[in-house]
């Protein structure tokens, strides 16, 4: 078996599976007992079976490169990440609170703008945000929901507390991996899973469909829902296919759509079929060539007028990106207090807005100690991790900050928690158990009421010491087990 004794938790980071005296954390004993007594051959078998299953299911990310027909599987680690019931209860409450506040913020910013006039969030911060879409002002979505699907990225610090790292309320992806990972794990370790009493994630597509139907403007009993995808050459296409199939809704591309008399239709072989709610997985920029990028073929001209007329709804709404801007993120605790009159349950990472000259000076003096992020980007792109950056990278980053300070924020480096992960290498057994940094993306749905998926995507940075967990940058994933109370 992978050398258990050789696995030692580090004092400087939070190990998710055991404490400093190597005792299993709440809920982890079952996994440790079962999986870590497996001989290497069995582990190899499990990993191979998992790979075969993923390939057969077609769980790929990208890629129809011209001549190369091969597709990549998002690397999967079979050791599940466990979250016990009481920890989850806090997370769930915090996530619901957070998404309700974010949604209220977006609706307010495109409506009355009270949060700006009351000075809770600086007006110029919002107006200067590239994701603030002036064309969305005046659109009143059903239920007042601009946000229907949110993916909130959480990390666990050295103190064992969960912190919100980033909000994703535009087109958050990854939930298909959550569901497929679970399908695979159920087949790999069925007894262990049953004994652990893991909460199911399979209801997600049904819940999402329910929320989308609740967004229908006409109050029809059987609204027509469709999922708008950029097409097979998009890296998340598998997820678009997966969700549309699971929900039993049509998968459409821009070319299938047309707006007539301010209503949205898809081109069916027997004529035009009206769409009531569009679950769109394309960015605002490409949504409506009449209002946004005129060269876009991914959206449909006239869609904004349809939304303004209230004849269809989209999820997520136009302009939600104003809420996942990294500078606006610094004000999210204030939003929670403002809209909900509650104290935030989930803390954010301390964030320094570099647009402030005093703050900027302080940060630039010790740039190597901070993580610097561009405010408008998402995922791990453009992020510079001070302690790991070269002299040149730091110098370039300093330049960029000085040139355009409002485009950056800085945060202290968080020692992300680690989780025992199978690393394939040249040792005798062919594999070792090593601690690797992980993060967590749970998914929150907002329909007539909020719902949180009991689970989420745990992403693991497979490279030693790496903090970057993205699929396209050397990351993998684990199944996440939220236990019943």
């Amino acid at each position: 078996m992978p050398d258990w004794a050789a696995y030692k938790p580090d004092a400087n980071v939070f190990d998710e599976m055991m404490d400093l005296s190597s005792q299993p954390r709440d809920g982890c004993a079952g996994v440790i007992d079962t999986m870590f007594s497996m001989p290497p051959a069995q582990f190899t078998e499990i990993c191979a079976r998992a790979d075969r299953m993923f390939r057969r299911m077609g769980v790929t990310f990208n890629v129809y490169g011209a001549a190369d027909g091969s597709e990549r599987i998002f690397p999967f680690d079979p050791i599940p990440r466990v979250i016990d019931a009481s920890t989850w209860a806090t997370l769930e409450a915090g996530l619901i609170q957070r998404v309700r506040a974010l949604n209220a913020f977006v609706a307010d910013v495109y409506g009355e703008g009270c949060v700006l006039s009351d000075g809770v969030v600086p007006r110029d911060l919002v107006l200067g945000c590239p994701q603030f879409r002036r064309a969305a002002v005046g659109i009143k979505p059903p239920l007042g929901n601009f946000v229907t699907v949110a993916g909130i990225d959480l990390v666990r610090g050295a103190d064992g507390r969960f912190y919100v790292l980033e909000d994703n309320v535009r087109t958050p992806s990854g939930v298909s991996y959550v569901i497929e990972n679970r399908v695979v794990m159920t087949r790999l370790v069925p007894t262990l899973m049953r004994a652990s009493r893991v909460r199911s994630v399979e209801r997600y597509p049904a819940d999402l469909l329910q929320c989308l139907m609740e967004m229908s403007p006409s109050g029809k009993s059987n609204p027509t829902i469709a999922l708008l995808t950029p097409g097979p050459f998009n890296s998340a296409f598998f997820e678009h296919v997966f969700l549309s199939q699971q929900m039993g809704i049509e998968l459409v591309e821009g070319v299938d759509l047309v707006c007539v008399d301010r209503k949205l239709y898809m081109k069916d072989v027997h004529g035009l079929r009206q769409i009531d709610v569009l679950y769109r997985r394309i960015d605002d920029d490409f949504l409506d060539p009449l209002v946004f990028r005129p060269d876009s073929l991914l959206g449909v001209a006239g869609l904004t007028a349809v939304l303004r007329a209230g004849n269809a709804a989209i999820a997520n709404g136009v302009g939600t990106g104003v809420a996942d801007d990294k500078a606006v993120y610094a004000y999210t605790p204030a939003m929670i207090r403002y809209y909900l009159a509650e104290e935030p349950i989930l803390p954010i990472v301390e964030t320094y807005l570099l647009r402030d000259p005093e703050v900027r000076e302080q940060v630039l003096k010790n740039l190597e100690r901070y993580v610097v992020k561009p405010t408008g980007a998402s995922g791990g792109y453009g992020v510079v991790i001070g302690p790991k950056a070269s002299e040149q990278e730091l110098a370039e980053t300093r330049e960029r900050i000085i040139n355009d300070p409002s485009a950056f924020i800085a945060q202290p480096v968080i020692a992300l928690s680690v989780h025992p992960t199978i690393i394939h290498n040249g040792s005798e057994s062919g594999m070792r158990l090593m601690p690797r940094h992980i993060d967590f993306r749970p998914f929150v749905l907002l329909g007539a009421k909020p719902r949180v998926l009991a689970g989420g995507l745990t992403r693991v940075a497979l490279r030693e010491g790496s903090l970057i967990v993205n699929s396209s940058q050397g990351g993998g994933s684990k199944d996440t087990w939220v236990l019943e109370a």
Partner: protein, 304 residues
């Protein structure tokens, strides 16, 4: 002054257009010195329109034409009453004092104080601003006037030097342009100075009482409005190096040209080019006798 305006845009498509979606910003604005008495948008092929007010308060007319058509004619016909301005008095304010409130203005007038698509705060723009930058003791309104005159003096009005999509950097590099470019450049300088400034698209009525007919792409005129202490939004016409007067008819306002194109649209076709021609007719009308309106302080005698 009463003016009848007819602004006609004709499109000819080499291959017929279809699935055409459009927005027109051609209805003259309502304001203290201007009233849109009548407005009609005529379309050929005929099509229903819907209206809404955009982010900057411009009235937008949206229309779509689905069936294939070889031509499109959009005729905006309006009757506009133009009243002389009686602006509130200026409050002399030196820059040193004015800039103390800069951060407040950056919140309330963000869009009109910062860079926008056609008005970048680029290296050339900043250098140009620096050439004629205001002294802390200089009065804000005086500075604005000085800049307008300066730009009129330094650049030549010449169609063909720049393009519709040009930013202010273009006129700086080639030394001349059209009214759009003059406006963008002036806006850039005033914004860098900290004065909220917005772009105005509209028409310039003829000086004489005769009808004016302009043929070509430059039917609309472009100028700007700067928010001056005490006076509020004050119009300047940098192409003509003056302040605006009764001849300027305001149609739409925004950060720059990209917010207020008279017509914006997308359509499909099986290739081929689109040919556009524009015609503008502005006819001053004799003021019709009207019942006395005591609230209308600008009730003048008939113009000849």
């Amino acid at each position: 002054m009463l003016l009848r305006i007819c602004h006609t845009t004709r499109f000819e498509y080499q291959a017929p257009a279809y699935d055409s979606h459009n927005e027109a910003r051609m209805r003259p604005l309502e304001g203290a010195t201007q009233r849109c008495v009548e407005f009609e948008l005529e379309l050929m092929p005929n099509s229903s329109t819907f209206e809404y007010d955009d982010y900057y308060g411009n009235r937008v007319y949206g229309f779509s034409i689905h069936d294939p058509h070889p031509n499109l004619i959009v005729a905006a016909k309006s009757l506009v009453e133009r009243m002389p301005a009686a602006p509130p008095p200026a409050i002399p304010t030196p820059f040193g004092e004015y800039l103390l409130e800069d951060h407040v203005r950056n919140r309330t007038e963000y869009d009109f104080l910062n860079a926008s698509r056609h008005v970048p705060f680029s290296e050339p723009m900043r250098k140009f601003f620096w050439l004629a930058k205001p002294d802390p003791s200089e009065d804000v309104a005086a500075y604005a006037n000085r800049i307008v005159a300066f730009i009129r003096d330094q650049f030549v009005y010449e169609p063909g030097m720049t393009k519709v999509h040009s930013t202010a950097d273009e006129i700086l590099s080639v030394g001349g342009g059209v009214c759009q470019d003059f406006a963008h450049l002036t806006i850039g300088v005033l914004r860098l100075a900290g004065i909220p400034t917005r772009y105005v698209s509209g028409y310039l009525a003829p000086a004489a009482k005769s009808m004016v007919e302009t043929v070509g792409a430059q039917a609309s005129h472009a100028w700007l409005e700067a928010q001056l202490p005490g006076q509020g939004w004050t119009g300047f016409d940098p192409t003509n190096g003056c302040m605006v007067d009764e001849r300027h008819i305001r149609v739409a306002i925004g950060r720059d040209y990209s917010d207020v194109p008279p017509l914006r649209g997308v359509y499909r076709s099986h290739g081929g080019k689109q040919l556009m021609s524009v015609e503008l007719q502005i006819e001053p009308l004799p003021d019709a006798p009207r019942p006395t309106d005591p609230s209308n302080s600008s009730n003048q005698q008939n113009q000849q």
